[in-house]
């Protein structure tokens, strides 16, 4: 039985190695898609958040002669002022047209009311449906409020009181996110890319070895051989496993390389994805390999054609996302019971490795065993299906 299984394995492995489509998707696009997309996305996100604080913000100021101090203050805070006398209606039109992102109007009564110590009106015109403008407007609002409280303190001081009276509470924020923790938010769905690449690696082989046999008409001849169906199924699933493991290895290597070039450290984050972490990821994901292979082979065994198998297996690729999505919505933390759920347990363990959290040996064992037991059940179900006469129809 083992000998026959080996023969089937070797044939499936070699045959698919010669198929350009299988090779490209299993060992190139599948494993590289995630890291490249990820690198590009993370770079862009980091670039954006960095740009937010450093970028020169341009604002149209109307009535600057009313408030020269304010204008100086804004300029000193990195705002670039474009001076233009605009009525309120003209300002609205200007913002709506997109000619200016933000317009700050200093009304005529401003100077008089300011001198009188009454609230001096300012008018900020912005389009909050644009997320970029919303952030700029927020920045201007903060600056104006800082300017206001500065003035208030000066006024209190001028009346011989302590300016601290105007600061009844002092809020200090302590952000406990470690640099790595902050990166986790960004890297959270990387684990799905890893599981996805792994499944993609075996997808075409699983189809070719089942629906492919049927479509090209080789299935009946194969089934007529005096070979235990378990050996046929076992060899095919093992070959699928080999491609998945290869794809996983390539994928992780690509992530290691990509993270060399993504400047996470520059923003106070450490990605912690070196060769050692990659090896740990590999070990964590390995028990998921036979599970994925058995699942894809079982589903593909029910289909009549390559195309049909492709349709169904594309949905199978989404199955591992469900627990992960669930986990991120409810922000689940690593717990022993969750280690029983394949894909979720791999996700949680990999996240823990990234966070440098201690991992218990029991959790690792639970995660591996639950995946392997489920894989065993699916392999048995596949062999059972292959023993049926309906396999031929």
């Amino acid at each position: 039985m083992i000998g026959k299984l080996g023969i089937v394995f070797a044939k499936e492995f070699i045959e698919n190695l010669r198929d350009r489509r299988t090779l490209l998707s299993a060992l190139l696009f599948g494993p590289l898609f995630g890291p490249l997309l990820f690198g590009a996305m993370v770079s862009r996100m980091l670039h954006q958040s960095a740009a937010e604080t450093d970028e020169v913000l341009e604002i149209t100021l109307s009535g600057a002669e009313q408030a020269p101090n304010l204008a100086h203050y804004l300029e000193s805070q990195g705002l670039k002022l474009k001076l233009a006398p605009l009525s309120e209606a003209a300002a609205r039109a200007e913002v709506r047209r997109g000619a200016s992102a933000l317009v700050l109007i200093v009304p005529e009564e401003y100077a008089a009311r300011f001198r009188a110590g009454e609230p001096a009106p300012l008018l900020l015109v912005a389009d909050s449906s644009d997320s970029q403008t919303r952030r700029s407007a927020e920045r201007v609002r903060l600056l104006l409020s800082a300017y206001g409280s500065g003035i208030a303190q000066l006024r209190i001081q001028a009346r011989g009181l302590s300016p601290l009276l105007a600061v009844p509470v002092a809020v200090n924020e302590i952000d406990v996110t470690t640099p790595t923790g902050r990166a986790i938010v960004v890297l959270g769905f990387m684990t799905y890319f890893i599981l996805f690449a792994m499944l993609m690696g075996g997808l075409y082989l699983a189809i070719d070895a089942t629906a492919g046999e049927r479509e090209r008409g080789s299935l009946e001849a194969l089934l007529s051989l005096p070979v235990a169906r378990g050996a046929l199924v076992g060899g095919k699933i093992l070959a699928t496993c080999a491609y998945m493991a290869l794809s996983l290895a390539i994928n992780l290597a690509a992530f290691v390389v990509v993270f060399r070039f993504v400047p996470l450290e520059q923003f106070g984050m450490s990605a912690n994805l070196g060769p050692r972490t990659a090896l740990e990821f590999f070990a964590i994901c390995l028990p998921f390999v036979p599970l994925g292979a058995a699942l894809m082979t079982l589903v593909a065994s029910f289909t009549r054609s390559y195309r049909e198998a492709q349709t169904y297996l594309t949905s199978v690729l989404l199955i591992p996302t469900l627990p992960i999505a669930f986990a991120s919505i409810y922000s689940l933390k690593t717990r022993s019971a969750l280690m029983l759920i394949p894909s979720l347990s791999q996700h949680l363990l990999m996240t823990s490795v990234l966070k440098d959290e201690p991992i218990s040996a029991r959790d690792i064992a639970t995660s591996a065993l639950s995946a392997l037991v489920l894989a065993g059940l699916l392999i048995a179900a596949t062999a059972r299906h292959w023993r049926r006469e309906s396999m031929l129809r």
């Binding site: 026959k4 023969i7 089937v8 044939k11 070699i14 045959e15 698919n16 010669r18 198929d19 046999e213 090209r216 008409g217 080789s218 299935l219 009946e220 001849a221 194969l222 089934l223 007529s224 051989l225 005096p226 070979v227 006469e389 031929l392």
Partner: protein, 243 residues
Amino acid sequence: MIEARALSKRFGDLEAVRELSLRARDGEITGLLGANGAGKSTTLRMLYGVLTPDGGTASIDGLDVRGETSAARARLGVLAHSTGLYGNLSARENIEYFGALLGVPRAELDSRIASLAQELDLDGFLDQRARGLSQGQRIKVALARALVHSPPNLVLDEPTNGLDVMAIRSLRELLRRLRAQGHCILFSSHVMGEVAALCDRVVIIGHGRVLAEGSVESIRERSGASSLEEAFLRALEPEGGLE
């Protein structure tokens, strides 16, 4: 020798084969003739063991197909209805794969393939990928694959389907040569000319039952028909003819 005794097979409400018995002798070509849906493929599938009969037995050289599957299958070559080859494997690798699964020792496999290549005239394309082979070349490779373990018996399910005239002719020559070597050959067809041209004995089946059996001549004489075609039609008549 290939033997079926009172084989029956039912698919849901459809009685595909009813108490069908037949015997194919060594050194003879036996033709299983019947219209589409007469039960030819179902019968052959029970003979080579991919379908389990609901009743009756099938045996190869006296070995029961269900009870002694491996021993029976070792003495039987099968050319199934669809003769799909693995396109990304060479002709040689296709044959080797089945040889290995049939348990032909590695040491013997090479010499066996060499002699098959000579016998079936595969030498020109033995190491080409099967993807690029012509229909006629494919049937030869499939036949070599069926014969790789040197079985004395051979079952072919509609082997000439989709073949061009040249390929049919070379297949006929091959089958005659195998007969001369003493093989027992059973093949199914719905083409009367083919059966008349090749077979020593004919089994006509309709609606899952044997309607007539014997040499082409004896069937013709017994039915009083002038040709096998007419004998075939007469045999079918009680069942309402060809639908």
